[in-house]
């Protein structure tokens, strides 16, 4: 059975909202232990869209800062008001200090919003000669590639992470980096980036594209003619020429890309990194979470645990949903407008919701018993200031006893 809170209703500030009834309970995730662990230098939050990843990242960063860590949080697409309250309304790829953070424990908090295209451009500029870089940046294929290449956002978030990490180590600016990952159909695309780049680079397609630029006509095989003819028919000659120019220009740069991707990959696997998977108690979100957990362990990425946001609070009293419904029906028979009947139906509804969420989490815990979990109750209103983030931080760090 679910543990019940003993605090008085209405006493919201001290009330520890209990969420979720029985089932095989996952180990509680010790958030403060994680934030206080000086050997952890990077926390990556991943999960499907709409589960509160950005808010969770910001709340973790603020809590860590107020517990004495020097933190930078890298967000992707925060809600406008939250961004404004953190002072990062401008998307400029530069970490800015967040004001009104309690720094009495010796910590600090900077925040930045990722400009994906800018990050991509910077990588190209760093890898190629100015002339070559210009040719790449102006190529129509690059222009669209840098904004919509499958996985670009994920990969660029990791690229920026690598940069900030290197800067922080050199200048001693930060000792903890919290990263929010973009919501996408495959938020772990960045794990595939090194392999995908290698496959692309070493693939026959690149060689074919480069052939006319590089060599005399004799290496152009019959197969090549077949393919270019097909491509010309589909795309038109101009597009094919643009594509060839692009491939030729970026060929030299890709080597550098691959190396950097491998380095970032290794950084993510290292002990100083902790992944948090964020979900909501919905079948689709928990399925995605399970996929993340499996994928991370396959790639030997250090997983710290699971955060289940938006959990429904357990109603007080031990009245079951069926009992409440039966009583409501009887009251309604006497008085169709009975307020108590309405309250009982609400109670039944809430109890069923909590039972369903509990069953979903229990299913997850059975399949992934090693994953420590923390639950955050659904709040009535959206979070758009530091006070709200602090509250989320407290809830994240509250251990829920599910015994």
């Amino acid at each position: 059975m679910a543990a019940r809170t003993t605090s008085r209703p209405g006493d919201r500030s001290s009330a520890r909202t209990r969420v979720g009834p029985a089932g095989p309970a996952a180990d509680p995730l010790d958030i403060d232990g994680l934030l206080d662990d000086r050997s952890v230098g990077i926390i990556v939050c991943c999960g499907s869209g709409g589960v509160g990843k950005t808010t969770t990242s910001a709340a973790l960063a603020l809590r860590a800062a107020e517990r004495g860590r020097r933190v930078v949080v890298l967000t992707i697409d925060p809600a406008r008001r939250l961004a404004q309250s953190m002072g990062i309304a401008a998307l400029d790829n530069t970490p800015r200090p967040v004001s009104s953070v309690d720094t009495s424990a010796g910590g600090s908090l900077d925040a930045m919003m990722l400009d994906m295209k800018r990050t991509f451009d910077e990588v190209v500029e760093a890898q190629a000669s100015p002339e070559k870089a210009r040719a790449i940046l102006e190529n129509p294929f690059y222009v669209t590639l840098s904004s919509s290449f499958a996985g670009t956002q994920e990969y660029m978030a990791m690229e920026k992470l690598g940069q900030i990490r290197a800067d922080a180590q050199r200048d001693g600016t930060y000792d903890l980096i919290v990263v929010d990952t973009p919501p996408s159909r495959s938020a772990l695309d960045f794990l595939d980036a090194p392999e995908r780049l290698s496959r692309f680079l070493d693939g026959r397609f690149i060689k074919l594209m480069l052939a006319p630029a590089k060599g005399p006509a004799r290496i152009v095989s019959a197969g090549f003619g077949l393919i270019t003819n097909a491509l010309t028919r589909i795309l038109g000659a101009q597009v094919l020429r643009d594509l060839q120019t692009f491939v030729a220009a970026i060929d030299t740069v890709f080597g550098g890309f691959r190396q950097r991707a491998m380095k970032t990959y290794a950084l993510l696997q290292a002990d100083g990194t902790a992944f948090l998977v964020v979900a909501s108690p919905e079948p689709a979100a928990l399925r995605e979470a399970a996929y993340f957990v499996e994928r991370l362990s396959e790639d030997r990425m250090p997983l710290a645990g699971l955060v289940v946001n938006r959990s429904s609070p357990v109603p007080q009293g031990d009245l079951s949903a069926d009992e409440a419904m039966a009583a409501a029906e009887r009251l309604r028979a006497q008085d169709p407008t009975s307020l108590t009947a309405g309250l009982l139906r609400l109670h039944a509804d809430q109890t069923r919701l909590v039972e369903r969420e509990g069953a979903l989490r229990a299913g997850f815990a059975r399949a992934h018993p090693q994953v420590a979990t923390t639950l955050v109750p659904a709040l009535a209103a959206d979070v758009h200031d530091l006070r709200g983030l602090r509250r989320i931080g407290e809830l994240l760090a509250t251990r829920v006893d599910e015994t």
Partner: protein, 327 residues
Amino acid sequence: MSDWPRVRLHVVTGKGGTGKSTVSAALALALATRGKNVLLCEVEGRQGIARMFDVDPLPYSERRLTTGLPLDDERPGVVHALHIDAESALLEYLAMYYKLGRAGRALDKVGVVEFATTIAPGVRDVLLTGKVFEAVQRNSRNKGAIEYDAVVLDAPPTGRITQFLNVSNELAGLAKVGPVKSQADTMMTLFRSPRTAVHLVTVLEEMPVQETADGIADLHDNDLPVGGVVVNLVRPQELTPDQLASTDPAVVAADLKGVGLDPAESLVEGLVAEGREHAERRALEHDQRALVGALGVPTYELPRLARGVDLGALYELAGLLRTQGLA
């Protein structure tokens, strides 16, 4: 009576977590009445349709899924489902329009297909929307193919929907002329016509509502036809705000006793607290509902179902969409 009698292509979008797949499925069931045939498409590789309807994962071919919502004892139509993936769509497209044969396989072998579907920007979306276009445009000349009275697309989220449908724009930077470009233009003609409607799913919370408003503005700016807003996961509405504000614990205790329940203090307090919390959330939902109402498009509401969404629930939601006029 449906608010959208002329629409052949219903595009359903929404912020992550608002339930756009559920709404798409319910809409397909609602449209498939009185012998009307409907195709329900998904493009994000999640196999959400298969899960909702409890069938095997869908291949790249149209599968009969179920029959639609029964109406007035008339024979309901059939819902077919299609899971569109970009690679299969490209190979089919090459075979259909270019009769490439050996060259098509060669393209696949050297990685052109992989390049086009995962790395080449925009191409992926054009392939996905291209297949949807084909299903909508079918007529009796397409021998052996099923003709549909309506197609429902479970589309990418609100943040990406304009880009997704704006295929000719996505290709503009790459292909200014050529066959691909002219095909994209033909597709745009359908997407911008009154035969298409883009419906947005939201919940009554600040961020999703804001994103819905931004999405509508974006669609308008790009001349894409905005359909309705489906407000999903609405809390139970039985009690009025006035009732909730005037809850008296003594009355609740007396009522409980009257039906044979032990009116323990913890139970009474719990019920009153739940009522208060519910009232608080309802007030916030009320504000957001006002914002949705001000968007100037028809709105439809679906309740949050405590038991979750199973097949029965989908029919229940389909019925609600039907009575409210989305289908």
